[in-house]
Symmetry: C2
Subunit: 359 residues, 2 copies
Amino acid sequence: MGMRSEDYHNLLDNSEVYRREPYMKAFSIVDRYLECFSKYYHLGLEVGEKIKDFIPSRIVYLGIGGSAIAGDFINIITEEVPVIVHRDYMVFRSNPDDLIIAVSYSGDTAEIFPTLLKNLELNRRMIMITSDGRLRKLAEKMNFPSIILEPGIPPRYAFPHTLGALLGLIQSLGIKIETLSGSIVETGKIKENFVPETPTAKNLAKKSASRIVGMLPIVYGYGKAVPIAYRLKCQLNENSKIFSHFCEVPEAFHNDVEILNEKTVLLAPRLSNEPNEIDEVYRALSSFLRENYIELKVPAGNFLSEILSLLILVDYISLYAAILRNVDPLALYVIPKLKDNNRNYQEILKNVDERLGKI
Amino acid sequence: MGMRSEDYHNLLDNSEVYRREPYMKAFSIVDRYLECFSKYYHLGLEVGEKIKDFIPSRIVYLGIGGSAIAGDFINIITEEVPVIVHRDYMVFRSNPDDLIIAVSYSGDTAEIFPTLLKNLELNRRMIMITSDGRLRKLAEKMNFPSIILEPGIPPRYAFPHTLGALLGLIQSLGIKIETLSGSIVETGKIKENFVPETPTAKNLAKKSASRIVGMLPIVYGYGKAVPIAYRLKCQLNENSKIFSHFCEVPEAFHNDVEILNEKTVLLAPRLSNEPNEIDEVYRALSSFLRENYIELKVPAGNFLSEILSLLILVDYISLYAAILRNVDPLALYVIPKLKDNNRNYQEILKNVDERLGKI
């Protein structure tokens, strides 16, 4: 009954697989990762010009799920301005010198609207990133600077678009980040190691996927690698439909590790500038777990290339795991059911509609 | 082969079980929960008197694992002073008007020392909470105000001691918290519902334990219930040796819920003052998961009783689950092995010894 690792490799190295839907579409979106990132980075630069005269003391980032993680990355890419990522229905109390960035791919994410409507009353500076829905309507009616994302893809696949847009935005506000041009070229080369055409023997993404199927994958992250680890956990949940667990290091060393066993496999996204203390934590884990420890590390010339390469690697792992588990990486089953079942969700969106009617 | 739910109930309602070690010892510690909490609360009040003239602008809390969670509770119990819980080797940059609270039951937790030694140089105000080891030696040599915890119990079981000590400390610093006297009496009554003498039919702790054994338990928490949810996840890991996963609501609704299935069981510690939006999130989860949704809610007269009762409930669940899984709730296997295997751990402690030699 069970497939062996060799069978996994044969399956992932068979080019036929990638000509079948839904895999063909999923891979074609991830293939365009850097292209989309660059496109929206330039759009972000343009839109940021419109509020260039305003230097925010904080960025209040409204988003949840896949949209929220992009906000976490701004926090690790620049330390010049603090970014508060607000993942809640409760109204966040903003200050007059805050910049509000509201992000929802669908434009209809209920959680962001209570804070958004409150800040509308307060006349705060705002920027919207969305493809459609009420958020887009609001941006248009109020003439807010906004970045409109390409339609027709599952929201979590619009992550490079959102991240690019955000980096462009903050750069045009005069907030320093590493230069992008070299990073894109370098990341493009690294990405080739993870594409379907690269055989499993040389492909860290395929190898990793083969080792997590049928297991309990756990992702540990440290410091600036934390949002990468969290993104991997979410992509395994949503794309691969696999139970996956996430924890931060070194905290995990004091409780979570107690349940590591022969069924768990640990994925560790690593950055090259981690302190020696953290190297030792992972070395201890590796010597304890042996083949159940998978280190995700990419050689890259700068921090931005490293992050982008790891993010692309993460997406490919989730797609290969989806193939091996024979599931649809584009579809979701539980999340939409629960949203429909949430009366409050409908209630909040009705309030937004009323408000939109009055503008 | 498999046990039925009826067998679980019979086992948990058999008083013989609780006369056997290691269960007898584990239950006897948890039985003293409120007694220890009160004792160390009064000790905390006394020790706090020694630095009463100093009103800190922030509390920098150094701890990790079970010790760190107690710090998280200070943040939810009072909003008067921000508490930064630092769970890392990296040195935290403190200000002159910060109060450093260093917590380690063993006194030899490597992670806290780099920041501690740095702050020693800076002559910052400090308080130590420990039972032994290098932290105790340091407190004695430097004559720092300190709270010495009872020896001989596994560190995670010293949680009520630490939490009590912390509440006493911050109250004597003039930071407002809810009055304790009534809460202790009320919590004592609620606790009776969870003890071994209360049969499963009326015992939420036993019922919950029976439903998670053989399953993948997931804990979701919102707002002030987050550290309770996280404590439950850790206690299931360490006491019950069961894989357990934790996530925050409403974020979990946007990715984590996708993997809820017939093997997962959701535990939801709830507080009575949660907003309507969050009630709806849990209502949707409950109607979707049906018998795989377990709500942990206790009727209590005030916020502090509610938190303490839930924390005690959490501990009992983990002990009953340990019985049903036939594991030792006092022992740990992986954590000590990994610590021994961490060369950096030894390196840091050697540095502390050198420093202690010079004082």
